[in-house]
Subunit: 306 residues, 2 copies
């Protein structure tokens, strides 16, 4: 028997197994936006008074986030990091710009190569470190620095349910208490670290993808060529298997964690130092990881930062 | 190049990837016993003064545990539960008895059907509950009751690294705080609940299997026909995948948990009541789950206990 939309009883377009919920196109779109709205409110992520910045990669997650913010009536600017990973990056930039133009949203572009002295691809080729680790350092720094310098009060990213549960599983397997503690949909501003939030944590990859297609959002379909075989991809596959076997596992896992997250409060709160070069907060004395990377690039050394 | 034993440099017989350790037969046996000895000491599980009881199923885990206890100089009796699951149970009993005779160890047999009024197989066929859940209730009750009534000071089970990590993963996915808290290699005596310990938690299934073969232990090779497709089997396969991808994950996961387990201390410690029938501790007022099951069997009702 064909499933019917739970709201209007029309023929269903999608069945969300984890919620045992069948919906037509219209009500699927409505619900997706409602989930985001409620997440923003529940975690007090921001209000219309905030100066909001979205990290825009050109992929479905960040574009859907930006799109929904607009529909919810929030004015949000975007920042795109041009990482310099060949065609992957040029296509990402193109799609981000196209989206911002059709939506008449403000998009700023920050070039990693300009700030750092080398593109990410050049870094990957010369460094022994894992690409995702290097890229993470660079992205976190550039996004925060831009948000801070431009006076944004909150920085949003498009991390979703699949990202967050894969990361949580990885952090639990290694009992990385500090990382576990910091894995929350909203982290308050700390000195020059701008407040961060993830309004899509309760939406699955599949929901975001479907929403993007229904709303006619043109997004980057290819994955970063350097991310293949990454730890997070593997853990994401593991979580998919678990979800398939026990529907709703991901949502239960993440929501349950948020509820009792306070037990992971670190006994010794992480002390933050000020990087003498960029003035941004860092977890150890001396140059921050980003500035050490930058220094080694300028000296033509190898890029190992640990 | 063929690997060499790390201790004596002879040709290695086994390579333990998680420990990056190659060993000859002799030193593998030595190491396995040492791991058990150190686990017993580290968690203060028992001393030679204790009256020790081992839950003996006839599988490799319990027989290897009992065998090693003997080699370490501990005097331990065994108890075998005859669950009444067809040929699986009769073979389990036969192998347990054979082992106890060749080792000249004391083995007592408790028949589930005699105490409960029905065999587990009869229960499985009539109840809507999952076999592993029913069987768990019966086993926990019968083992503790026997240990308590016979005056044993500690009850040992053969749970190993693979069991414990699969269970921990399952408990974390659902944030079952009480179960997480109680998942420790040693649990103190609480009223009529006898002290329990799991001396094999740091040995993998593979190590136990190999040890059993080297020591000529004849054990039950078949699995319970009702356990197929169980939650724990699935989670165990998931942990195997993780271990394969990230060697040593299981040990790191479990050891890390034991280190910081205190953060899971329940805010409201579980209140234990006394079952008015069997006088054993139970988590709710009135008859314990085991006695409810027994009552329904005697009334010829369906066996649902929840």
């Amino acid at each position: 028997m064909a499933k019917r939309c739970r709201i209007c009883q029309k023929k269903a377009f999608i069945y969300l197994r984890y919620a045992n919920l069948a919906l037509c196109k219209e009500h699927f779109i409505q619900r997706t936006e409602k989930v985001v709205k409620e997440t923003i409110e529940k975690f007090k992520m921001f209000s219309p008074q905030d100066k909001i910045l979205v990290a825009v990669s050109g992929g479905k997650d960040s574009l859907v986030l930006w799109h929904i913010l607009g529909k919810l009536g929030f004015k949000a600017d975007g920042v795109h990091l041009d990482l310099g990973i060949g065609e992957f990056s040029s296509l990402s930039l193109k799609l981000s710009q196209k989206f911002s133009e059709t939506h008449q949203f403000n998009l700023k572009v920050v070039s990693a190569k300009e700030v750092l002295g080398a593109s990410l691809e050049e870094l990957f080729k010369k460094s022994k470190e894992k690409p995702c680790s290097l890229c993470g350092t660079v992205k976190r720094h550039l996004l925060n620095e831009f948000a801070y310098k431009e006076g944004y009060s909150v920085l949003l990213t498009g991390h979703h349910l699949d990202d967050e549960t894969a990361r949580l599983l990885g952090n639990l397997l290694n009992w990385e208490i500090d990382y576990i503690w910091r894995q929350f949909p909203v982290l308050p501003q700390e000195g020059r670290l701008v407040k961060r939030a993830k309004p899509l944590v309760f939406l699955s990859k599949k929901e975001i993808e479907t929403y993007a297609q229904l709303e006619g959002i043109e997004y980057l379909q290819v994955k970063c060529p350097y991310s293949r075989g990454s730890k997070l991809h593997f853990l994401s596959d593991i979580m998919d298997e678990i979800e398939k076997h026990f529907p709703s596992s991901k949502l239960r896992f993440l929501k349950g964690f948020y509820k009792l997250r306070k037990i992971f409060y670190p006994k010794k709160p992480i002390k933050l130092f000020e990087c003498p070069s960029c003035k941004m907060p860092t977890t150890s004395e001396g140059l921050c990881r980003f500035c050490r990377l930058k220094e080694r690039i300028s000296h033509g050394e190898n890029f190992k930062t640990n």
